[in-house]
């Protein structure tokens, strides 16, 4: 692939940067041309979705597994900051793919869902959403830790603006709290990344921030614990896990609908994804040592989130606390170190994005009409708004985990896998499922049924064509995943399995006495799971790329990296 192909071809680069590039023409729209701006942003988001689906289609093999997409120039990831061996390395494997697709899938709904809710400064809103998409997609596919960190931080500013400019009453408080919490965690992660890279450079004799290279670094337990703590803090704030969660309800309550959808749908997943991709595999012994702690915090998150959600009287707050509980399940699955649980966790990340996204969109629709989110202001909505009631019940049931809908599959896999691996932790977490039914059904009862006693509610218009068009695809996908989850699980299985296998292999060995470098994995083991798939991956691309791609993915490190220290 040449540079031009990288920019304009069917690549990750195009997928990641198209939204930002497409945001530039927004500068030339007249400020009051709101209609044009809205339609332009929607068109951009649909094109982005198309790009995402095309990329997915070209890398999905006929048997349903997924061939990692990599952006290479001349057979290697292009240099970005050559001095420090920092590469512009974008890889989308089966772990990142579901979340990437989710992100581009939700974007059009976010834009369309903001149609009425956002009344001012559409230009800035559209630009923020598009830049935010670049940040999230970049963080999901960056395989260079420096690059990952840059994208990770780039996400913050647009989200800060979205909450702070278009949010509710206490928007500024919520925006700053969101920013500072997230930043506090990630700054320590930066120090950890620097330490890791420096240690790699010392051990290997050359600079690299590449994920594959750093994965080969075996560290003594002490440093592993510190580094894991720094990474885990950054990710735990983002998830958010129990003691670091207080920013989330504020951010959700104050954010506009679109902001909430993106926040719950994508941004929170970056935290769990970070654990899965970086936190756990990079520091296996530390992760193993921290397993009880993670399990405990996840369990607390599940139960505490559910109990607090139970007593909420504000629609958005309830969904926010339910997010804490749901992501507690995801963390429980990750900390179980079991393939079934991991599959469930990854699927549940997508499920949560869909069902919570739909719930926030629904709350936004009712808020557009009544400008309140308090349960006390509603009851008996099912009568004037049957369509609204239908979709609310549907999304809620998906969230509760009704068999036949997506939430059930994810939670079942997590609990089944976790029970196999960690026993009673999973059994205790099962109470969370019951509690979820309690607080979510309570919400339905309070708002949809009961007497229609308020005059304002009697005349509420039901969902219009635009709103139904937004909700139908989401609901359809929830149903499809619920009925036939296998096509969604299959693409992620191989990469999850390889990651888990590498992890278990490394944990089985005692921690190194000093920093050492493992041999690059030979074919057929560990990460090499990808290598054996290569010929098939190449079939999909042009024939001339075969040699290039397989040369780059050959089990030995790229020429820039030195031979192993041993």
């Amino acid at each position: 692939m040449s540079w031009l192909e990288l920019l304009f071809g069917n690549t990750l680069t195009r997928l990641v940067f198209f939204p930002t590039v497409a945001a530039l023409p927004l500068l030339f729209f007249r400020r009051d041309a709101v209609r044009a701006i809205k339609w332009y942003a929607l068109a951009v988001s649909l094109v982005e979705l198309l790009f995402g689906l095309v990329l997915l289609a070209t890398h999905l093999r006929p048997d349903g597994t997924f061939a990692a997409a990599r952006d290479l120039v001349g057979g290697a990831a292009p240099e970005w900051i050559g001095r420090f061996g920092i590469r512009y390395q974008l890889v989308m494997d089966g772990i990142a793919m579901p979340l990437v697709v989710l992100a581009v899938f939700l974007l059009p709904f976010v834009i369309a869902g903001s149609w009425r809710g956002i009344e001012t400064k559409w230009k800035g809103y559209a630009a923020s959403m598009l830049v935010l998409t670049t940040g999230t997609l970049g963080a999901l596919v960056a395989w260079d830790l420096f690059l990952f960190y840059v994208f990770w931080e780039v996400m913050l500013i647009p989200m800060y603006l979205v909450i702070g400019i278009w949010g509710g009453e206490r928007r500024v408080y919520a925006a700053i709290k969101f920013f500072l919490y997230t930043m506090a965690g990630s700054l320590l992660m930066l120090v950890a990344i620097l330490w890791l890279a420096w240690t790699y450079a010392e051990t290997a004799g050359a600079w690299s921030f590449a994920y594959e290279d750093l994965m080969r670094l075996d560290l003594p337990l002490g440093p592993q614990l510190w580094l894991f703590a720094a990474f885990a803090l950054a990710f735990a704030v983002k998830v958010p896990m129990f003691p670091f969660h207080t920013w989330l309800p504020d951010a959700h309550v104050e954010a506009p609908t679109g902001g909430s959808v993106i926040l719950a749908g994508i941004l929170l997943k970056l935290g769990t994804y970070g654990f899965l991709r970086f936190g756990l595999p990079l520091f296996p012994h530390a992760a193993e040592a921290a397993q009880p702690l993670i399990l405990a915090l996840a369990l607390i998150g599940i139960l505490y989130g559910a109990l607090v959600a139970w007593v909420q009287v504000d629609w958005k707050k309830l969904v926010a606390y339910s997010s804490i509980a749901h992501l507690g399940f995801v963390m429980l699955g990750l900390a179980a170190f079991d393939l079934v649980a991991w599959e469930g966790s990854l699927l549940q990340m997508v499920n949560h994005g869909l069902s919570t996204g739909a719930l926030f969109l629904l709350v936004g629709m009712i808020y557009d009409r009544r400008h309140t989110k308090q349960f006390a202001d509603f009851s008996g909505l099912a009568k004037p708004m049957p369509w609204f009631a239908f979709f609310l019940v549907f999304s809620t049931l998906a969230s509760v985990g009704l068999p036949g809908l997506n939430g059930f599959v994810g939670e079942f896999l997590i609990l089944a896998g976790a029970y196999r691996a960690v026993g009673w932790w999973a059994a205790a977490a099962t109470f969370g499922v019951v509690l979820a039914a309690v607080y979510l059904l309570k919400m339905l009862i309070e708002t949809l049924w009961g007497p229609l006693d308020r005059e304002e509610n009697r005349s509420l218009a039901d969902l219009g064509g635009r709103e139904i068009a937004i909700l139908v695809p989401l609901a359809a996908l929830m149903l499809v995943i619920g009925v036939a989850p296998e096509p969604f699980l299959k693409p992620m299985r191989a990469d999850l399995g390889a990651t888990l296998e590498t992890y278990q292999e490394r944990v089985a060995a005692a921690p190194a006495a000093g920093a050492t470098l493992r041999e690059a994995a030979p074919a057929g083991e560990g990460e090499a799971g990808e290598d054996e798939e290569l010929p098939r991956a190449a079939e999909i691309d042009d024939a001339e790329d075969v040699a290039v791609v397989s040369a780059a993915l050959a089990p030995t490190a790229p020429p820039a990296a030195p031979e192993a220290a041993r």
Binding site: L161, V172, F179, A201, W207
Partner: protein, 470 residues
């Protein structure tokens, strides 16, 4: 004087001569005043070319040395000179102060700075320091009608002369102990060992003197008052160029003194990072806020000095380049946006102006985010290089304090962004805010900050002399 010697001071000659020329024009052809800014800017650019084409080596019996590092610091000084001059134009016109002295002093100050950062002999350094300091004192007081300006200059002058006395005393002690004022010779004597305690006292005095110039805690008290009262476009220069040159001298002094000064430096660094950021947090005046943030930034810079290696020079150079762009950019916007120079520059005065002045507000926001060290800006690259140096040389704790205090920094930098975009419009600007040069300087600095943050490769290749790291 040989040809090489003349060529080696060509930048200083160009700057000084342009200053004299402007003064003569002021006296004999005052109608040309309107072109002074352009003239001075051109002289700065010419000096830049002269510096860029200079052959490396020593001249004037080794008193002056040009190498890969001095050229980067020269760039820092000239960039902030250029941005400061461009930002000054509109301000001078608005205040009715357009006169040749301003530009002449500015250029002479830059010439003094260039001498100082390339000198390898203590007395030459001192003479250069006095040259530039006198120009700085006069410039700080340039707004004659404003009381705060006089106060600013007086405070700066008193503290500055105090610092000069420190430095001179330190030089005397060092000369007494080592028998030389040449830094390389002093370095050899220190390396040989057997020096009395007075040599160490001398080093501490010189370090303290330059710590005044860099406004490191606890030698920082002058800077908030001076920043508040002095002309805003000049402060953009004052907050960068003299600090950069002083930092280089400080590094040289520490390098010559050898031994273990890490604890002292780390102490200054931590104090500056913590105090600077905490005090900036409570400021309502944007110039005072930037003064305290400048203290904090010098603290970050010192993180790279705690373990002194040749790479410390490189890290400092990268950091100061980024600091020059973002700080000068911030002050350029402040100059344009605050029309009444004599009054306070309250942050709250910017409420809602993000939509009134989209370009200036965007430039200010980028500068703020860069000062906060957020990617993808050059400020992040600067912090990355400095903290990487610390992490790699066993000063992880300094890097941790650095990132935690920069979190405080993010809070008050974001407050500016928040005031611009998230507060209702408080009042319309009184004047028209037409300042082509100032706006240009601000937007250029912001664009450079962003561009170098996205593509830092080439500039790092240029600045970092050797492959960094272990």
């Amino acid at each position: 004087m040989t040809g090489y010697e003349i060529a080696s001071i060509a930048p200083e000659i160009v700057l000084s001569a342009a200053g004299v020329l402007i003064l003569l024009l002021e006296a004999f052809a005052p109608a040309t005043r309107r072109a002074f800014t352009v003239l001075a800017a051109l002289a700065t650019v010419a000096a830049g070319f002269a510096a860029a084409t200079m052959v490396q080596g020593r001249s004037f019996a080794g008193l002056i040395e040009q190498n890969e590092i001095t050229i980067v610091f020269t760039a820092v000084v000239l960039i902030s000179t250029l941005l400061g001059l461009l930002a000054s134009d509109g301000w001078l016109r608005r205040e009715g102060l357009l006169a040749g002295e301003y530009h002449a002093l500015f250029l002479w100050c830059a010439a003094g700075l260039l001498f100082m950062l390339r000198a390898t002999e203590l007395l030459t350094i001192f003479v250069a320091l006095e040259t530039l300091s006198l120009a700085l004192y006069a410039l700080a007081a340039f707004h004659r009608r404003v009381k705060m300006g006089t106060e600013a200059a007086l405070k700066y002058f008193l503290v500055g002369t105090f610092a000069s006395a420190f430095i001179l005393y330190g030089i005397a002690l060092l000369y007494g102990e080592t028998g030389s004022t040449m830094l390389p010779a002093i370095g050899e004597r220190f390396a040989a060992g057997g020096l009395g305690p007075l040599a160490a006292v001398g080093v501490v005095l010189v370090v303290a003197g330059f710590a005044f110039k860099m406004s490191l805690v606890p030698f920082h008290a002058w800077s908030p008052d001076t920043y508040q009262g002095a002309p805003a476009p000049f402060v953009g220069f004052l907050s960068v160029a003299p600090k950069a040159a002083s930092a280089l001298v400080l590094l040289r002094m520490l390098e010559a003194a050898g031994g273990d000064w890490g604890t002292l430096v780390a102490l200054l660094s931590v104090l500056s990072m913590v105090a600077g950021n905490l005090l900036a947090l409570v400021q309502k005046d944007v110039k005072r806020m930037l003064a305290y943030s400048g203290i904090a930034h010098m603290g970050y810079l010192l993180v790279a000095f705690a373990t002194l290696t040749p790479a410390s020079f490189d890290a400092a150079a990268v950091y100061l380049l980024s600091y020059a762009l973002m700080n000068a950019g911030a002050f350029a916007v402040v100059t344009v946006l605050y029309e009444r120079a004599g009054e306070q520059h309250l942050i709250s005065d910017l409420s809602g102006w993000g939509y009134r002045f989209p370009w200036l507000a965007a430039a200010l926001s980028i500068s703020m985010l860069s000062l906060g060290g957020l990617p993808p800006t050059f400020g992040f690259i600067g912090k990355y290089v400095v903290f990487l140096h610390a992490v790699g040389h066993g000063d992880v704790w300094l890097a941790v304090i650095g990132v935690l205090t920069s979190l405080i920094g993010v809070f008050y930098y974001l407050r500016v962004v928040y005031t611009l975009y998230m507060r209702p419009l408080s009042h319309e600007p009184a004047g028209t805010l037409r300042d082509a040069w100032g706006g240009t300087a601000a937007v250029l600095a912001a664009l450079a900050t962003l561009l170098l943050g996205v593509l830092p490769g080439p500039i790092l290749d240029w600045v970092l002399r050797s492959a960094p790291g272990p």
